[in-house]
């Protein structure tokens, strides 16, 4: 092999650079998203619950929001009857964010962790306390 030493050295440096981020963070736990449900409205609820069970909301809230948008805007159905029979006004600003008025500590916490950038708040207004 011509220039074998240089090639092997080069490969070693390349492998080192590529694996550096993994080796550097080895053994350190990543900071998990830390959702806060500590808002005035939620604090006052006797039984703390969202429009649907927590597991469903966690996994499917984006689909639910999509359905809400289509039903309210395109079908004119602005009331949601949940699986437990409770009725909710379909509105991101006036229903979701009424309870979750801590967007930074609720929505953003997970979205930033997952590096997703939903564009809801380009139009929909954030709750007051979060507006800079």
């Amino acid at each position: 092999m011509y220039n074998g030493g240089k090639i092997i050295l080069g490969l070693a440096v390349f492998a080192g650079l590529v694996t550096f981020p993994f080796l550097y963070n080895i053994g350190q736990a990543d900071r998990q998203p830390d959702l806060k449900l500590d808002t005035p409205v939620i604090r006052q609820m006797a039984v703390k619950h969202c429009v649907e069970p927590k597991a469903f909301m966690r996994a499917e809230h984006m689909q639910l929001l999509n359905d809400w948008r289509n039903e309210a805007l395109r079908q004119g159905n602005r009331e949601y009857v949940s699986s437990t029979g409770e009725k909710y006004n379909i509105s991101l600003q006036n229903t979701c964010l009424h309870c979750h008025s801590n967007k930074k500590k609720f929505c953003d916490e997970c979205h930033n962790y997952m590096a997703v950038h939903p564009y809801c708040f380009d139009c929909h207004l954030q709750p007051k306390e979060n507006v800079q």
Binding site: F56, G76, R78, S83, N89, Y119, C123, L125
Partner: protein, 267 residues
Amino acid sequence: MSMDRRQFMKIAGLSAVLGIGGSLIIDKAGHAGLGAGPRYEQGPNAIEAKRWGMVIDAGKIKTGEDYKRIIKACHSIHNVPDFGEAKDEVKWIWTDDYEHTFPSAENPFMDQTYKEKPFLLMCNHCEFPACVRVCPTKATFKRPDGIVVMDYHRCIGCRFCMAACPFGARSFNWRDPRPFIKQVNPEYPTRMKGVVEKCTFCVERLAKGQGPACAEASNGAMVYGDLMDPNSEIRKILATTYTIRRKPELGTEPSIFYVIGGSENNA
């Protein structure tokens, strides 16, 4: 390893069954079910119509204050920005003179008061809306109750609708509108840069049992109602008063009617 045709068919069939079956199972398990499915309803106070329309009695809107009050009622509720220059203007309800409002009904000898009087203009919520026909994403659509609305989520900002609308009822957000909204109504969204917007006949208010904001602020000069209900107030006015519409010759069948020179009032 050699394989005959029979063995190959067996393996291919088995992997197809496993693949399709497996994806179905993963699909089911992956989504947290809701059991008894949720439902969507209209809401208890919603007011409905077969075809919404409005009569604007031009003679009853007299002073500059009247125009300002009506326009402000709409624009403040719906977070309509004021960019401060005509080029970028966003308007849901606005005014123009007779010549530009009714270009086909103009004559050089007409009543001067009406010739110079501003008329309140808004989306005509046409029966055959040109804007809906040209929208490539179906962001603009006509509801079954005749109201032409927009789904801003789908708008790609192509502005075909602005070219198609013969009434200039649509505005484009050339800039981020947020900094130009004087007082934000926290209950209604804003728009973003790059979408078209227009009058919605206050669908969000109709869903709560309230009438359009402009009509509410007009002190009876603007009357809304169901054009398909012969007993509605609006049909009674249309049956007894002479009314005209903007550019009817274009065949879009506007749902906004104007009373010019009403009998019981002067301009």
